[in-house]
C-alpha cells in the first residue's frame, strides 16, 4: 500500500467517524457559534464588533481546535486502535498526514461558517481585492492549525491528564497563527489596513504551516511510539 493511499485511508476513516458520530456538526460548530454570539452580547458595540470580528473568528477557531483534536485522538484511544495501528505497521508519517487532512477539512468548514457568521452578526464585509487573501489565509490557517493540533494531540494522547495538558501545550504554540491570521483577515475584511498589508501576515501563517507540517511528519512516529 502506497504512502499516499495510507494517508488517504486514515483521513477518510476520520471523516467517516465524524460523519457517523456528528460530534463536530452537533457540538463543536454550535459551540463556536455560541462563542461568537456571546462575545457579541458582551461587547455590544457595533463599530467595535466590526473591527474585532476577525480576532473573534480566530479565537472561536482556537477553542474549537482543542475540542476537535481531543476528539480526533479519543477515537484512537477509546478501544486501543492506536496500538492496533502501530501493530499494523501503518506509517506514522502517513498517519500524521491523514489525521491532519481530516482535521484541516473540519477546521476549514468551521472557519468558513464563522466568517459567514461574522458577516451576518457583526456587519463585516469582504473587499473584492481581499478575497484571494482571505482564501489563502483560510487554507493555510486551516492546514497550519491542523498540523500543529495533530502533532500536539499525538504528544498528549498517551499522557495522564491529557484533557488539561493539551490546551496548556497547544495554545501558546498556535499564537503565531492567531496573530497572523487575525491580521490577514482584518486586512481582507477591511477592518484594519490595506489588503497589501495583510499578505505578509498570511506569509507568517503559511511558514508556520510548512514548519509544523515538516516537523510533524518527522516527529510524529517517535511521539506516538512513546
Amino acid at each position: 500500500m502506497t504512502w499516499w493511499r495510507t494517508a488517504w485511508l486514515i483521513a477518510r476513516r476520520d471523516l467517516l467517524v465524524e460523519w457517523r458520530s456528528r460530534v463536530a456538526l452537533n457540538q463543536v460548530f454550535p459551540f463556536a457559534g455560541i462563542v461568537m454570539v456571546m462575545f457579541g452580547f458582551a461587547i455590544d458595540d457595533t463599530r467595535l464588533m466590526e473591527s474585532i470580528a476577525p480576532g473573534l473568528v480566530m479565537v472561536a477557531t482556537m477553542f474549537s481546535l482543542l475540542v476537535l483534536v481531543q476528539r480526533s485522538f479519543a477515537l484512537e484511544s477509546e478501544d486501543g486502535a492506536l496500538d492496533a495501528l502501530r501493530t499494523a505497521g501503518v506509517s506514522s508519517s502517513a498517519l500524521f498526514w491523514g489525521k491532519s487532512i481530516a482535521l484541516a477539512a473540519q477546521l476549514a468548514a468551521l472557519q468558513a461558517l464563522l466568517i459567514v457568521l461574522a458577516v451576518v452578526l457583526y456587519g463585516s464585509s469582504v473587499r473584492p481585492a481581499g478575497a484571494p487573501l482571505l482564501v489563502a489565509t483560510w487554507l493555510s490557517g486551516s492546514w497550519g492549525l491542523a498540523t500543529v493540533g495533530t502533532l500536539y494531540g499525538g504528544l498528549a494522547a498517551g499522557a495522564r491528564g491529557r484533557e488539561t495538558l493539551l490546551p496548556l501545550l497547544l495554545l501558546p504554540v498556535v499564537a503565531p497563527v492567531l496573530i497572523g491570521a487575525t491580521r490577514a483577515v482584518e486586512a481582507a475584511l477591511g477592518a484594519r489596513g490595506t489588503v497589501v498589508d495583510g499578505w505578509p501576515w498570511m506569509g507568517l501563517v503559511a511558514v508556520f504551516a510548512v514548519v509544523f507540517c515538516v516537523g510533524g511528519t518527522l516527529a510524529f512516529g517517535p511521539l506516538i511510539e512513546e
Binding site: M1, T6, L9, R13, L16, V17, R20, S21, L75, E78, D79, G80, A81, D83, A84, L85, R86, T87, A88, G89, V90
Partner: protein, 255 residues
C-alpha cells in the same frame, strides 16, 4: 475465502517480506529482557516457537504474558538479549515485523462509531486486502448479515470481540498474538474462536495465546509455557523450548 487458509495464502503471495520457511522457527528469543519503566517485565526469556503451533502462555496476573506478546509484536523494545520474529530482528526490524503480526489485546482496537463492516474493511485496507477477503472474514465470524451494518458501539462485548478477530483475518496476519481471546464470548462464540485458531494454525499461521481459561486453552494448545515473574518456569509439549533464564533482579542490574 472460505477458510483462514486462503487468507494466509494470499498473504504469502502479496508480501514475501519476513516470510519464513516452514521448517524455520517463527519466534526465537534468547535471554530476552523487556523493561516497563525501570521494571524488567521480562527477565531473560529464551524460547523457540515453530510455524503452525498454538502456544498457550499461562501464569498469574503480572507474570509477563502480555509483555511477551507485545515484545513478539514489535511493540516493545528489546532491552537485552536477542530476538527474531518471522525473520525480523527485534532490535532493528520492528517496523518490518509489525504488518506481519496480528495482536488482539485486552482491548479490541476498533472504531466504535463505525459499523462492523467498515471496521473490518478499514483494517483489511491497511494491508491492501480485496473486498472479497473482507467479506469472507465477516462471513467466517458470522458477522455478514445485519450485524455488519451496526455500529460497533451497539454490539455486545462478545460481538465486538468477534469483529476484532475478523479484522485480524482481514489483515492476513502470519503470527497471531492473542490476549484472553475468549473473554466476553458465549459458549458458541468460544467454540468458533477455537475452531478458527485451529484453522489458522493448520494453514501455516502461528498462534500464541495468553489465557487464564484452562479448560479452553488446554485442549487448544500444542505447546504450553508456564510464565512467572517474567521468566519461563516450565514448558510442555510441541517443539517449544525454554532456555536458561536470569532472575528479575539480575536483569535489572544488567541494565
Amino acid at each position: 475465502m472460505d477458510t483462514v487458509a486462503d487468507g494466509a495464502d494470499a498473504a504469502k503471495g502479496a508480501d514475501p517480506v519476513g516470510a519464513v520457511a516452514p521448517a524455520d522457527p517463527v519466534v526465537v528469543l534468547d535471554d530476552a529482557v523487556a523493561v516497563l519503566g525501570r521494571f524488567p517485565a521480562l527477565a531473560g526469556i529464551s524460547i523457540t516457537v515453530h510455524r503452525g503451533e498454538i502456544v498457550w502462555l499461562r501464569g498469574p496476573n503480572g507474570a509477563g504474558k502480555t509483555t511477551l506478546l507485545r515484545l513478539c509484536a514489535g511493540l516493545l523494545p528489546l532491552a537485552r538479549g536477542t530476538g527474531r520474529v518471522l525473520g525480523c530482528d527485534l532490535a532493528t526490524e520492528r517496523d518490518r515485523l509489525r504488518p506481519l503480526v496480528g495482536v488482539l489485546g485486552h482491548r479490541n482496537g476498533l472504531y466504535l462509531d463505525l459499523t462492523v463492516a467498515e471496521n473490518v474493511a478499514f483494517w483489511g485496507d491497511t494491508v491492501g486486502a480485496a473486498a472479497t477477503e473482507v467479506a469472507a472474514a465477516l462471513e467466517r465470524l458470522g458477522l455478514a448479515d445485519r450485524l455488519a451494518l451496526l455500529p460497533v458501539r451497539r454490539l455486545s462485548a462478545g460481538q465486538q470481540r468477534r469483529t476484532a478477530i475478523a479484522c485480524l483475518i482481514a489483515r492476513r496476519a502470519e503470527l497471531w498474538l492473542l490476549d484472553e481471546p475468549h473473554s466476553g464470548l458465549d459458549a458458541a462464540g468460544r467454540d468458533d474462536v477455537d475452531a478458527l485458531l485451529r484453522q489458522a494454525a493448520a494453514s501455516g499461521a502461528t498462534v500464541m495465546v495468553a489465557s487464564h481459561e484452562y479448560e479452553r486453552a488446554g485442549p487448544l494448545a500444542t505447546a504450553v509455557f508456564d510464565i512467572r515473574g517474567g521468566t519461563v518456569m516450565g514448558t510442555a509439549g510441541g517443539s517449544v523450548t525454554a532456555g536458561a533464564v536470569a532472575s528479575p533482579r539480575d536483569a535489572g542490574r544488567d541494565r
